[in-house]
């Protein structure tokens, strides 16, 4: 890879950092320039308050990570957030993997049999219009009654199922496009070479799909993270970042900066998830000629 090509790969990551820096500057600028009580027209608040209770200084939020959760001893907020991120990230990862497998299998079935595609595709799209908040408690309740093949259902599995439910969708749609992307000549070529269905899949359709799958996997990774957090909140599962957001929010009046600590943790979780997919993209770069990623 040449220096220029390397730069083109790294640049998106640098752009993310730059965007974060700009956001931080805007936050502090707003706090500095705007009145503490916000801006009102009549009785209506048109710009939010910028006092320390509403918008703590960034350095207060950062220093919060070093504070102890309770009193002057015990676990610090930082450790709690890291523990929670690690816990939620694993649930999201499990959901992501299940979602990817399900999405790929659905795409393969739809690509292979036209009638399956016509029958399935509307439901796949429909599945994403059901509000997650409504779905999460249902999955949680069903899970409680499940005893599959001697496997005891655990609450965290419900959270992963919900993450998978969000993650499979972009994968199914992206893979379906990718599997159909080889040119007619390439398809005829494999046929003239007496390639089996499996050989055609492995040698032609999957490699041709990579440039559609990479963006789909990024969407799926972000969706799995969101799904896991929302599911934790709406099922009340302990141990993850979702629960931490709720329990710190209850302290908002006493310690406003603490509310933002798990939110930052959640954002970092999303960045880690998408970053891992970017590593995968670098590993698969020979299947994604520059500028062709869909």
């Amino acid at each position: 890879m040449t220096a220029a090509a390397l730069w083109r790969r790294i640049r998106p990551a640098l752009m993310v950092l730059l965007a974060l820096a700009i956001l931080a500057v805007l936050w502090e600028l707003y706090k500095w320039l705007m009145p503490d009580d916000g801006v009102r027209i009549g009785d209506t608040l048109v710009l939010p308050r910028s006092d320390d209770a509403s918008m703590p200084h960034l350095w207060d939020i950062v220093s919060e990570f070093g504070e102890h959760e309770v009193g002057d001893s015990g676990q610090t907020v930082g450790v709690s957030v890291i523990d929670a991120v690690w816990y939620s990230l694993r649930l999201a990862a499990a959901g992501f993997l299940v979602g990817v497998v399900v999405g790929l299998l659905l795409a393969l079935a739809m690509e292979r049999v036209r009638i399956v595609r016509r029958a399935l595709l509307p439901y796949i799209v429909l599945s994403q219009t059901v509000p997650l908040i409504a779905l999460a408690p249902l999955v949680f309740a069903w899970g409680g009654n499940l005893h599959l093949f001697g496997l005891e259902w655990r609450p965290w599995m419900s959270v992963s199922v919900i993450a998978a439910y969000l993650a499979f969708f972009p994968v199914a749609i992206g893979a379906l496009r990718g599997l159909a992307s080889p040119t007619p000549v390439q398809a005829e070529l494999l046929s003239s070479l007496a390639a089996s269905w499996w050989q055609t899949l492995v040698r032609l359709k999957l490699p041709a799909s990579v440039r559609y799958l990479i963006p789909a996997l990024k969407l799926a990774a972000a969706a799995a993270v969101i799904g896991a957090i929302v599911a934790e909140i709406s099922t009340g599962l302990r141990g993850g970042i979702g629960r931490l957001i709720i329990s710190y929010a209850q302290l908002a009046t006493g310690d406003p900066a603490r509310v933002y600590a798990p939110i930052l943790g959640a954002a970092v979780m999303g960045l880690i998830a998408v970053g891992l997919i970017s590593l995968l993209e670098i590993g698969l770069r020979r299947y994604t000629p520059e500028g062709t990623t869909a």
Binding site: V185, Q186, L189, L190, L193, A194, A195, Q199, R203, P289
Partner: protein, 256 residues
């Protein structure tokens, strides 16, 4: 040695929801071992369809085809033919060498033998120095040569070519024609070659099969009695005579 291709009474009808289109009717043609035969005719005369029937990419509606004394299906499974398309159809994530190796990889040949054979073929088509390149780094003519090398990979007794030089400029085209004849001389493969170009058909072929549309059929078969084909042939009297003969056959005028 059995004939490369024997076509007897082949017809092909494409049925859509409302209409039926007769693409080919009453085709009889035999291609001998090592013989070079061109199919020429206006668009819609079914020449590409005929090529795909020989290759078992399409099934004939009527009639029978044998390739190397076998059914087309068997010949395809045995890789008795190599197919070169109008577009090179290279897989852009594979190197030039990887593309040439593809038919052998599908056939289960081991890595070492594959590589040796691919190098040999790339030398044959004059691309020995480009084994590690990506298809996108090659010109159109070079890509087409890779496609020809790939078609030759499993030492087929028959090459099926669908306007392989159609997208090339005239200079490259003439050079590729000479290369193709040299390669055929070295491999002894029979060729069925679809083209729109009369000079190309005449320069390359032992026989030119002239077809006409609606329904697609063979109207005349022109023998081309040229000796050694080199660049001088292109300016010789028999070459021009053969061109005239094919042209008049295409116009539907009998010239003898």
């Amino acid at each position: 040695m059995s004939d490369a291709v024997v076509i007897a009474g082949v017809g092909k009808t494409f049925a859509t929801d409302k209409t039926e289109v007769e693409a080919l009717t009453g085709i009889d043609l035999t291609v001998g071992p090592g013989e070079f035969v061109s199919l020429i005719g206006p668009s819609g005369c079914g020449k590409s369809t005929l090529l795909r029937i020989i290759a078992d990419l399409l099934a004939p509606t009527t009639g029978t085809v044998t390739v190397n004394g076998k059914s087309p299906r068997q010949a395809r499974d045995d890789q008795d033919y190599g197919f070169a398309f109008q577009q090179a159809g290279l897989l852009e994530w594979r190197t030039v060498e990887g593309n040439v190796e593809l038919p052998m990889a599908l056939g289960g040949m081991d890595k070492g033998a594959r590589r040796t054979r691919a190098r040999e073929l790339l030398e044959l088509v004059g691309l020995g120095d480009f084994a590690g390149h990506r298809p996108s780094q090659l010109s159109g003519g070079m890509q087409q040569r890779v496609a020809i090398a790939r078609a030759l990979a499993r030492r087929p007794a028959l090459l099926l070519m669908d306007e392989p030089f159609g997208a090339l400029d005239e200079m490259t085209r003439e050079r590729m024609q000479a290369e193709l004849l040299r390669i055929c001389g070295e491999t002894g493969a029979a060729v069925v070659f679809v083209t729109h170009s009369i000079p190309e058909a005449v320069f390359l072929s032992h026989r030119v099969v002239v077809m006409s549309p609606r329904p697609g059929r063979i109207t005349e078969i022109v023998d081309v009695p040229l000796g050694t084909r080199d660049d001088d042939v292109r300016e010789s009297e028999p070459f021009f005579q053969a061109i005239t003969e094919v042209r008049e056959a295409l116009r539907g005028r009998k010239h003898r």
